[in-house]
């Protein structure tokens, strides 16, 4: 699993490829918690790259999987993120 701490710099191409592969694998196994963390990392990477639309897409994915995994603190944090970008009510 990717490091779940906040990213301080964008993922390298290799890390990004690895994250994509992990996410696909976690979808196969319905690993909601891993998907929440993985998509959140992807969203953080998109923020650092300045792609807010992509970030909000990935944060939304992370938000749903955090809810499904009952990771309420993570879900609340993602919701605040999305709200700050005007993507949540």
């Amino acid at each position: 699993m990717m490091d779940t701490a906040d990213l301080t710099q964008p993922l390298t191409p290799h890390q990004a490829d690895r994250l994509d592969a992990d996410i696909l694998a976690w979808h196969e196994t319905n690993s909601a918690a891993e998907l929440a963390y993985g998509y959140r990392t992807g969203g953080q990477d998109a923020v650092l790259r300045g792609d807010i639309d992509a970030a909000c897409f990935l944060f939304t994915q992370a938000y749903v999987f955090a809810l499904r995994a009952d990771l309420l603190d993570i879900a609340d944090s993602l919701w605040l993120n999305l709200k700050s970008f005007g993507r949540e009510a």
């Binding site: 639309d53 897409f57 939304t60 749903v64 499904r68 009510a89």
Partner: protein
């Protein structure tokens, strides 16, 4: 419903001495079965399941209730709620098997998420990729559709139409009758105290057979030595329930004298008393000083039913391994009796194909509980009768 069926329904509502039973169509006609869903089940309090199947917060169990997809959900607050098991977005089934859903019920299609109390929590990408807001989507009005429900004696009841009398009022006569057992803890016996019987019969025939003791000497000869016909009495609460009672309940499951713990504080009546009541429409209950059972009759089709039998005890200690042999004996005893009834209820179902059968003639002495049930079913169609009469007159 055909005119001759309507005429026969009127006969059902006569006093037992002159009444006939429900007409054949009530057992053989899929169209009448469809009418029953609305008139008999949805308008009344109907049992759909057991609380013991949804004990943990965040656990959900789907229920196919007469073709209606429902889901029982235990909230974080410990409360059991029943919802229509469909997403408010595209009508997708939300929960397809009993499972721990944890924090939310999430639609597998577009991932709309509902809290365990039914509130719509998330609508991902509903306003476009990464945008979860659409001004036309008001989450406050799009929660899961909750079905009016109530849990009593671990039985989960629903009133689909939402306009039945208050549950407490509806159950008051039975609660009064069994007041000595009310508000006392009950403990499900576990896997050895749970079984199902798939029966090729209309659900009402299972109810009717349970109501009366008349058949005991013939169908359950094993009871003759210790629970004779004359040791039984009728129970009649028109409009509510009917059944039979026994005055010689004295189980001997173990030669060494071991016995299940009794409910606390019972009066002498229950030392050897037991009662077996059909709570309309489709719930069969048996109460004894040392255990209680419920049979939920699931009407699968007009000619098929599944009986879900669950046995409960009076004390958590009775759930221990040291009591497993007795629990298994008790369950086996009841299963044997209930299985003895199968050929009868299936035989009556087959018999209902006889076009000349007029619903049957009741014994005024022995069949009153059965007639009370028939009368109740017929009365649920009363509005239909009035409408039909008007149409006939016109």
């Amino acid at each position: 419903m055909k005119p001759e069926d309507i005429s026969q329904i009127k006969n059902v509502m006569q006093p037992v001495a002159t009444a006939r039973g429900l007409p054949n169509a009530f057992y053989t006609d899929a169209a009448v079965h469809e009418q029953e869903k609305q008139l008999v089940f949805h308008k009344n309090w109907t049992c759909i399941g057991f609380g013991k199947d949804v004990t943990e917060p965040g656990f959900a169990k789907p229920v196919n209730h007469l073709g209606m997809p429902l889901v029982m959900v235990r909230g974080q607050d410990g409360m059991l709620r029943v919802f229509q098991n469909v997403c408010r977005h595209r009508g997708m089934i939300l929960v397809d098997e009993p499972k721990q859903v944890k924090g939310v019920i999430s639609c597998p299609y577009h991932a709309w998420c509902y809290e365990l109390n039914g509130k719509l929590r998330a609508t991902p990408h509903v306003g476009g990729p990464g945008n979860n807001v659409d001004p036309n989507i008001d989450r406050a009005t799009l929660g899961l559709l909750e079905v009016r429900s109530h849990v009593w004696m671990d039985l989960v009841f629903v009133n689909v139409t939402g306009d039945a009398p208050d549950f407490e009022a509806a159950m008051a006569p039975l609660k009064a009758r069994w007041s000595e057992f009310m508000d006392k803890p009950i403990f499900h016996g576990g896997t050895d105290s749970s079984f199902k019987l798939d029966v090729k019969t209309n659900w009402k025939l299972a109810v009717e057979n349970y109501c009366e003791s008349y058949h005991l000497p013939w169908i359950h000869p094993g009871l003759n030595s210790y629970s004779r016909l004359e040791d039984h009495y009728h129970i009649n609460e028109p409009g509510q329930f009917s059944g039979q009672g026994s005055i010689v309940y004295n189980p001997k499951l173990d030669d060494s004298g071991r016995a299940f713990k009794n409910f606390d504080g019972l009066s002498e009546k229950w030392n050897e008393g037991a009662e077996y009541i059909a709570l309309y429409p489709n719930l069969l209950l048996g109460i004894h000083r040392d255990h209680y059972f419920a049979i939920l009759i699931e009407p699968v089709a007009h000619d098929q039913s599944i009986e879900h039998i669950e046995i409960y005890y009076t004390d958590e200690a009775m759930l221990g391994d040291e009591w497993a042999d007795l629990r298994e004996k008790n369950a086996a005893l009841w299963k044997e009796i209930f299985m003895e009834d199968i050929f009868v209820v299936e035989g009556m179902q087959t018999g209902r194909a006889a076009p000349g059968f007029d619903g049957g003639k009741f014994s005024t002495v022995m069949d009153e509980p059965t007639h009370t049930f028939h009368h109740w079913v017929a009365s649920q169609f009363a509005g239909q009768l009035e409408g039909a009469s008007i149409r006939e007159a016109g």
